[in-house]
């Protein structure tokens, strides 16, 4: 019935395709450059014209990198990202469900406050936050880089959007069948919002892994740094030793990029769900 969609070769289509390819190269280039650069000798990394592909690949940069506590940093980054992920998913799923499905005093107001707080830059509360974690005695521990980020209500917002899709009849049916509130949540709600939790989990893991700012103000001693911080510190120390820096950048980027590629579908869904309805 439908006429077959034929891509007409209008000048606009051709030009836009060419432009798309050019910008694609611009976006992929840094990534390519970091990975290949990490295998170049120091003097090659700054040579002009650039050596587009490493001709004498070397592992020297990685050897220098692992003289730093890079593995400890990696572990720290992983712990920060993983624990943030678990906590955010836990608190957000519970809160998102009741905000979407229950009518209770203060519910609308609370949700409004959550949304307003999302617009606030975390950095506005920087000084009080540091003072708070110092007063509670966990400044310069991983907890200081994790807990404040859990308070940020994006996850609650996302899970509320997701929970809206649960049919109310199912909740009512469960109630008639004699389920208590916790059973309704555990047996009916949880299985239905699983895709949402998945999306939130990936999203949180990636943002926590890359949350340079929070880590910067919360962690100070060299042993406690995360990968991001560690490499930033090395940028100051190694200045223009791009080889080592690129080895560090590769080491910090590869795991997270792999995670992104594997879970891209659920991640994309999370970003889209969190935006606008309809």
């Amino acid at each position: 019935m439908k006429p077959k969609k034929l891509k007409r070769l209008t000048p606009y289509n051709v030009v836009s395709m060419v432009m798309l390819c050019i910008v694609t190269i611009v976006f992929v280039f840094p990534f390519y450059w970091v990975i290949t650069g990490s295998f170049k000798e120091q003097r090659v990394t700054i040579q002009l014209p650039p050596q587009w592909f490493p001709q004498n690949p070397t592992l020297d940069n990685y050897l220098t990198l692992f003289k730093q506590p890079a593995l400890k940093w990696f572990l720290n980054s992983f712990l920060v990202a993983f624990i943030s992920m678990a906590l955010v998913c836990f608190v957000s799923t519970l809160a998102g469900y009741v905000l979407a499905k229950k009518r209770f005093y203060g519910g609308k107001l609370l949700f409004g406050i959550f949304v307003a707080a999302m617009a606030l830059p975390k950095q506005v509360v920087l000084v009080p936050l540091v003072r708070l974690v110092s007063a509670w005695g966990f400044h310069n521990t991983l907890a200081a880089a994790i807990l404040p980020a859990v308070g940020w209500p994006f996850g609650v917002f996302l899970m509320k959007q997701f929970s809206e899709t649960i049919p109310t009849e199912m909740l009512e049916a469960a109630k008639i069948d004699g389920c208590n509130e916790w059973q309704i949540f555990y047996r009916v709600v949880l299985p239905m919002v699983k895709p949402g939790i998945g999306a939130l989990a990936i999203f949180t893991f990636i943002s926590a892994w890359n949350d340079y700012f929070m880590q910067l103000i919360m962690l100070s001693s060299r042993e406690n740094l995360t990968l991001q911080l560690g490499i930033a510190t090395m940028q100051a120390e190694f200045a223009t030793n791009y080889g080592v820096l690129m080895a560090g950048a590769t080491f910090s980027a590869i795991p997270i990029v792999l995670i992104f590629i594997i879970f891209q579908k659920s991640f994309t869904q999370g970003i889209t769900m969190g935006s606008v309805k309809g």
Binding site: W33, L48, K102, A119, P153, F185, A253, I261, G278
Partner: protein, 307 residues
């Protein structure tokens, strides 16, 4: 819920009882989220607001009313940073919106694999993390060994090397370029999804009536993706206002505060100069600016968007 409107008096009382119970249950479910939210968001906001009225440093802590705010608006670093922050937002947000719409309109009808490859590519700089991205850009901008100066000289566009990050004419621009590449990932994902939801039958009907692709875009797609545009404008504005790590890692706000933003200045005053009250006052002003911007944007787009 509708049938409740017709219930008798006793029914009403019962309903309040149910709602009370629902409230209790709901707050129990909300408890963990609320604990974190109050402890790490609400509390610090209030405390930040409060201390912004104090001359609170490593040594002093005395009430000075609006003293910090008055000093701010007479301070050159702050005014420069304010100007830069506004320039950054005005410079980057429209380009992000136009660019993401451009890319999305090309890729949204491609087959799913090509679509997700492109989406992935534009999201790559976000996933990679600022620190790793900055390593490359530092080299690109490097005045002696960088590829940018080399390429421009090879093309004959410049005669001598430019200190991209150290020259007050270029530092902010250099930041804007990097900020742009790290900001388009999410808008593109959103636009691809939004364009995919545009009613295909409207588009086909218009095409049969002989509409050009520009007319189709202008009169069908653009209005349909308006809610997404609003959302994208709001989040990219907020993100650009908060641009910090790029500045801290690339220029340190320099030269002479010419690439500093309010966000960066907050950090510098709080952690390098230990002027906590002053830094908090700056944070409060930033929060107000972001709030005003968001309200303006909602008013501006508001009548065209249905929630």
């Amino acid at each position: 819920m509708q049938q409740n409107k017709t219930v008798t008096k006793t029914g009403k009382r019962r309903r309040l009882g149910i709602r009370g119970r629902e409230t209790l249950v709901s707050y129990l479910f909300m408890l963990p989220a609320l604990l974190f939210f109050v402890a790490f968001v609400v509390g610090p906001i209030l405390s930040g607001l409060y201390t912004s009225f104090f001359n609170y440093t490593a040594r002093h802590n005395n009430f000075i009313g609006l003293g910090n705010y008055i000093e701010l608006f007479q301070s050159e670093p702050f005014l420069k940073s304010l100007r830069n922050t506004v320039l950054l937002v005005i410079g980057v947000v429209p380009i992000i919106v136009l660019f993401s719409i451009f890319v999305s309109t090309i890729i949204y009808q491609k087959n799913p694999i090509i679509r997700s490859i492109f989406r992935g590519i534009f999201y790559l700089p976000v996933v990679t993390g600022t620190v790793a991205i900055v390593v490359v850009w530092k080299w690109i901008y490097d005045p002696l060994n960088g590829i940018l100066n080399w390429a421009l000289q090879a093309m004959g566009a410049i005669d001598q090397n430019i200190m991209w990050l150290g020259d007050k004419k270029y530092a902010l621009l250099a930041i804007i370029v990097v900020l742009f590449t790290t900001s388009v990932g999410q808008p593109i994902i959103l636009y691809v999804a939004a364009l995919g939801n545009v009613d295909q039958s409207h588009i086909e009907a218009a095409q049969i009536d002989g509409a050009t692709s520009w007319q189709v875009f202008r009169h069908i797609k653009w209005p349909a993706i308006m809610p997404t545009t609003l959302y994208v404008v709001v989040i990219t504005t907020i993100n650009s206002f908060q641009c910090f790590s790029l500045i801290q890692l690339l220029t340190g706000g320099g030269p002479n505060y010419n690439s500093s933003t309010i966000m960066y200045l907050v950090y510098e005053y709080a952690f390098k100069q230990s002027r906590f009250g002053y830094a908090n006052a700056m944070g409060v002003i930033l929060a107000i600016i972001i709030g005003v911007f968001s309200i303006i944007q909602f008013k501006f787009f508001g009548d065209k968007v249905e929630y």
